[in-house]
């Protein structure tokens, strides 16, 4: 590098934009909504980690976007943190921003961006040297003028549910899909070059952007999130003439904290030192003991207290006799009395816990007080300043210190239970919170349920015919229960038929099969023969219009009969009433006598069952033949 730092013009200085406003309240009530970026992660505000990453990458020009309510707190935080005196921070805030897209539009209108910039969210943890990335992005821009963004992903080894299709050679994003399940890849992508389909890439919320990014957001008001941006750019590639690239971090560590499960995971990684140099004894004053135990300054530990692995205890905290702590983070100035058990929990600063309490898998907000013999477990989140009375047992609750909308259940004057179901204020927020909560309990409890998920996915890949059959069954069951009009059912069946490319005759066959097997196994056991028949009849009568629509000619009658035979083979109850069913279908003019006779004559398949069933129908056949003769006689009479 020949260029001298002092000679650098303002144009060439690399800027970083930190978005310190997350537009979600996943961490509520442990921290207030707007203050999500100050949620303590191993006793440091979350924002610290992102700024630390910039600082260690020698990026000093930083633009921090924060909501106006947190602007002062952010400013004082940066000013008071000793490591950040090098940073030259510009603060910008706006009250009208409701999404990530709004933030970028705000930046565009403020004209704060002068050059290619590094964009990262305030929830990024880890170490990554950004300058080489910026350099390679600049090189990339020389080759591809349309390159607007390089997104940084961390290589993982688990399924992320997000599918990215990248060009093998350039790592350009060709296709992006966030949904689970199968994807439809445009064929030309594959034919043009070899591609990689990645599902193991974790988002990091770091991106290298060109100056073209803010105007792109400004031009497209529907870009709300980063995903909207990616999607929009890929769809309108020709119009916008912009391309996206991916950088995969193979070694090193970058991760983001966006909800409690990720909070848990990242805390674990920090304590296990994957994030080095962002580890407790470097970013704070801790001494490291064997087994990833970090002790702060000025602790008062009772002789008989037991501090287990993976634990951080903040400075000036006190631990009483017989207290056990395992896999937990204790904030500063906490007072924990005797015989307390704390496992897999996060206590923020200034928490007081009285004797004989048990705390498992929970988050305790700042300055909470938990009185004697309380039990708090299974994903409880306590807001700051909550007071828990003695002998309280709490599971899976979120508790705030004040009654926000007068709908919360009161525990005492300083504890109100937030009830997800009762809160009908805003559906959207409710959804976000509920999801987080469920995720947490999932990770906390066990992985058995996720295993179930996998197996159900694996089980749901039968061939088209089976899929068609099961869809028809679904349609019919729902149709019968909800009294859906038969015309609509016909439409549904037809669309399934086209979707799975089933020909008419197969469709007839499976439709009849489905109709005859609507009862579940359990239901069947409860039914006797007579009631089974009446039930079946009521269903068949209900679906008569459907039957009429499909069973029209001799061929379809044949399909219908073979379906009946097929089901009767496996279903004893139907077998007993099979003659009645055929007769009934004849009576309602679904089956023609011609077809029944033809079916009866068909003796070529010699299985015992086929013979039996035909024997049973002998009587019906005789009757039919007689009727036919009479009819033909009468016909003759008519004609003569």
């Amino acid at each position: 590098m020949s260029s001298n730092n002092t000679n650098l013009e303002k144009q060439d200085i690399l800027q970083a934009v930190v978005v310190a406003s997350f537009f979600h309240k996943n961490f509520w009530p442990a921290v207030d909504k707007d203050h999500s970026c100050f949620v303590p992660l191993v006793n440091k505000p979350l924002l610290y980690y992102a700024l630390n990453m910039l600082d260690s990458s020698d990026i000093t020009e930083v633009v921090i976007f924060c909501s106006s309510s947190t602007a002062d707190r952010t400013k004082s935080f940066v000013r008071d943190t000793p490591g950040f005196h090098r940073l030259n921070v510009i603060y910008t805030s706006s009250d009208t921003c409701r999404s990530f897209g709004d933030v970028i539009r705000h930046l565009d209108s403020c004209a704060l961006i002068r050059n290619d910039f590094v964009l990262l969210w305030g929830n990024v943890v880890g170490k990554l040297s950004l300058l080489p990335l910026v350099k390679s992005f600049k090189d990339l821009r020389k080759k591809d003028k349309g390159a607007v963004m390089t997104l940084v992903y961390q290589q993982g080894d688990a399924d992320t549910g997000q599918t990215l299709v990248l060009s093998s050679q350039t790592n350009r994003i060709l296709f992006h899909n966030k949904k689970k399940g199968k994807i439809n890849l445009p064929l030309e992508l594959v034919l043009n070059e070899s591609v990689k389909i990645r599902r193991d890439l974790n988002e990091t919320n770091i991106a290298i952007c060109s100056t073209a990014v803010p105007p792109l957001f400004a031009d497209n008001f529907d870009f709300q999130t980063k995903d909207d941006f990616i999607k929009g750019l890929l769809i309108n590639e020709e119009i916008l003439n912009s391309t996206l690239y991916v950088h995969v971090v193979q070694d090193g560590y970058v991760n983001e904290v966006f909800d409690w499960p990720s909070y848990q995971k990242v805390t674990h990684d920090i304590l296990h030192r994957w994030t080095y140099p962002q580890v407790p004894e470097i970013i704070g004053k801790y001494s490291l003991r064997y087994g990833n135990i970090y002790f702060g300054d000025n602790l008062k530990l009772a002789l008989t207290c037991d501090v287990g692995n993976d634990t951080v205890i903040g400075s000036d905290s006190k631990l009483g006799n017989g207290t056990r702590i395992l896999k937990s983070v204790i904030g500063k100035n906490c007072t924990i009395s005797d015989n307390v058990t704390i496992e897999n929990s996060y206590l923020f600063d200034g928490v007081t816990i009285k004797n004989n309490c048990v705390i498992k898998f929970s988050v305790i907000g700042e300055n909470c007080t938990i009185k004697e013999k309380s039990e708090i477990s299974d994903s409880c989140i306590l807001g700051s300043g909550v007071l828990i009375e003695p002998n309280t047992v709490l599971q899976q609750h979120r508790i705030h210190s004040s009654n926000l909308n007068n709908k919360m259940k009161k525990l005492n004057s300083k504890a109100f239970i937030y009830n997800v179901e009762n809160d009908s204020d805003s559906d959207e927020e409710q959804e976000v919170n509920g999801l987080t909560y469920r995720k947490r309990s999932l990770t906390v409890s066990s992985c058995s349920s996720s295993d179930d998920d996998n197996s159900s996915i694996a089980a749901s890949i039968p061939d088209d015919t089976c899929m068609f059959y099961s869809e028809v069954v679904d349609s019919l069951i729902r149709g019968f229960e909800d009294h859906v009009h038969c015309d609509n059912l016909i439409l549904e069946i037809n669309s399934s038929r086209y979707a799975y490319n089933i020909n008419y005759r197969e469709a007839n066959f499976h439709m009849i099969r489905a109709m005859l097997t609507l009862n579940s196994k359990a239901e069947l056991e409860a039914l006797n023969q007579v009631r089974y028949y009446t039930q079946l009849l009521s269903k068949l009568d209900y679906f008569l219009p459907v039957l009429k629509n499909y069973i029209k000619n001799i061929d379809s009658c044949e399909d219908c009969l073979s379906a009946i035979e097929d089901v009767a083979k496996g279903e004893e109850l139907l077998n007993t009433v099979v003659v009645k069913v055929i007769h009934h279908l004849y009576d309602v003019n679904i089956l023609s006598e011609e077809s029944i006779l033809k079916w009866h004559k068909k003796e070529e398949d010699t299985s015992q069952f086929a013979k039996n069933i035909r024997q049973k129908t002998n009587k019906l056949i005789e009757w039919l033949k007689e009727a036919e003769e009479e009819e033909s006689e009468s016909d003759e009479d008519d004609s003569s």
């Binding site: 890849l185 990689k196 694996a458 890949i461």
Partner: protein
Amino acid sequence: MQNWLEFQAVVMAAGKGSRIPEMTATKPKCLLPVGNKPMIYYPLKLLENAGFSETKIIVADNYASDIQEEVDRLGFEMNLSFVPIPSDEDWGTSDSLRHISDFIITDVIVLSCDLITDVDLHEVLNTYRKNNASLVSLYFSTSKDEQCVFTVPGPKSKNKLEKDIIGYDSKTSRLLLMASASDYEETMPLSSSLLNKCLNLSLCSNLLDSHMYIMKRWIIDYLSKNKSMATLKGELLPFVVKEQLSKHVQGQAKGKPNESLDENDEKVDIFNIPKEFNISSLYDVGNKSCAGDLLKCYACIMDSNIGVRANTLFDYCRINKIITKLNLNLEDEKDKISPEAEILSNQFEKNTCFVGPHTKIMEKTSIKSSNIGSRCIINPKTRITDCILMNGVIIEERCVLQNCIVCHDAIISAGCELKDCLISGNFKVPTGGKHYNEVLTAIDRLMEI
């Protein structure tokens, strides 16, 4: 000699060469000359170099004696046995393999007679061994080194390739998807089971399938029980690759009788067979992601400098131009130009030409970069550049041939001027003809096929 074999080799040489009918009307594809050897020499040599001592060659019965005669003349040390199959019944490669299934007692390696490459066969075999694979397929990456530009003889046509799409795990190169581009219209669906199986899938359409397969013995068993499959590439391979994703593979089929649908009754379940054969594979926990999978297909992707399947005119020409670079065998002077040939020419480039035995090249001829077969006669005052002359070709006086393929026993009458032409077997080009970019053939003979 060691009686215990790890692999048995089968060379498929009954192909009709339907993509190059001009040249294969009267001669089997596997005997078309490449360099100064018939095409089949190269896969056989590859096997011999790898240490195989026995090879079965599947041939069409109408050409069986021709092929046997010619292959015997090549002087292989390994044991070659020829298995004729009926030429009029249109057998596929799977059918052929089924035909000889009684003779196959070990795992098997199947090669096509038009495979010309200098890869180390051991690397492919090691891929198979290392992964305890059920099936390994060899692919060539064709990305680099396309600098060899030439015009294909015959009428100008677009070199339209049938594109195969291969999907494999980027890390383990496990083969998880095999499809042809023509299977799809605009979009290509990727099932969720595939995406769940592999988190880092590479999809390639520019790989060349070498048609070299190594498979477990039980696949042959499956093949012999399942008569509906006619070809390996078209039917068996896609089936086996697809079945990897089936839920059976997850090890659920533990002795439970098949209670599934009626149509499965008479069909042999592919998962029952491997279970009997390699119970040991259930215990291998080397790779977490595929532990317990009974079916494991792998792709071996080679970055070889020469890897060609000479089954189209384009590839046939290409391999003839680059055959000198093949370091499969020692191409010494004696080998390139037969000592039994009579060369009187003064403008003859030794380094770039092959000449077969009993060929007579008269004086006052100029010959460059050409492959000339045996029993040819090249009369004076001719000029031959970039040509392939098969056996028994007679070129009369004052001819100019450039970039032509002249099939066996054809006669080029005096004064002809041919450029970028293909002259089929036994054809006689009339005197003084001038042809450019043409296929010269007796049409009625072409119609026979």
